[in-house]
Symmetry: C2
Subunit: 196 residues, 2 copies
Amino acid sequence: MTMAKRDTYTPESLLAVAVAVFNERGYDGTSMEHLSRAAGISKSSIYHHVRSKEELLRRAISRALDGLFAVLDEPGATAGPAVDRLEYVTRRTVEVLISELPYVTLLLRVRGNTDTERWAMERRREFDHRVAALLKQAAADGDLRADVDVRLATRLLFGMINSVVEWYRPQRGNAATSEEVADAVIRTAFAGLRAH
Amino acid sequence: MTMAKRDTYTPESLLAVAVAVFNERGYDGTSMEHLSRAAGISKSSIYHHVRSKEELLRRAISRALDGLFAVLDEPGATAGPAVDRLEYVTRRTVEVLISELPYVTLLLRVRGNTDTERWAMERRREFDHRVAALLKQAAADGDLRADVDVRLATRLLFGMINSVVEWYRPQRGNAATSEEVADAVIRTAFAGLRAH
DNA sequence: GTCTATATTACGATAGAC
DNA sequence: GTCTATCGTAATATAGAC
């Protein structure tokens, strides 16, 4: 144990509180008053730590994007047959979704109303395109079924992966671990729900 | 051709405009000023047609829920082996998602900030539970793979289905039809992406 | 059915004391 | 680092003329 009491906020710890409220009420549905109540300090005190409400959004989204893009540089994502790299990226993306859950949740919900949000959407599209390229190569290798369009398949794969932020909740008694969820996603997406 | 000129708004036609803006900017990110500009009439004129901003949300969500629940009463959803009924409901849900795209999109994005939104979330959960029961029965029949938890499988199936509202856009040149998308969802979800 | 004008409240952000 | 007080703006909604 350390002697640290942590009664005061750092930009980091305040961000965690803010992101939780953003995810519960939506970014636009959250006022600085809501944040101040959740953090237990006054509105103006928040401005001591961050410049604006939008800065909180930008920091959160940055963190989410850093986590996701890092996956694409891992060895498992850069070497081997495309279909194996695709499975690897799928697994690791699910794991990052879960380890950075609140931040990625926020990223996946931005609507593009501000510069920050449009920047987030653009970088997200970039990530999607990188994964789409893997699907395209895997299809060219004959490793993906031929009767589903590759672009459609990409959408559906991301639909399944990204849905994790809509329902995964940590620390519930019997909640699945990050690995179990990743396993289930990979089995379902690549082998299907139906019994052999 | 009819003689109807339709220069004035009905609650219906105004709703269509409003829902489009809600989906683009988010409900909380949309002001009555935004709506008035999109509709080409003044803010106060909107209040001639509807009582409040929230009434527009309620009407839209109602329409989405009606479409979804109707699927569960169709013959294909009420007779036969559970796995077949599940496939049928999956197909029809995708079709309703597409035929009522803007309304269902709005439904799937509510966060629970108002009574209307909480009611929407509750009814949506009800729909999910009805479909989850089909998965449970299909699993008991041995028609679904045994190595993925049924609750997890339900989440992933809905993740894939619901993601349609995030990317499907009608009338783009080579856009897939409703049936093609439903086919792809069923193939991917039940048989998997991987080549035989 | 639509408008202009306005009431009233809520919002993001700042000033300045302690 | 936190507070109270407040500024300026933008929000939902209403009043009442045409």
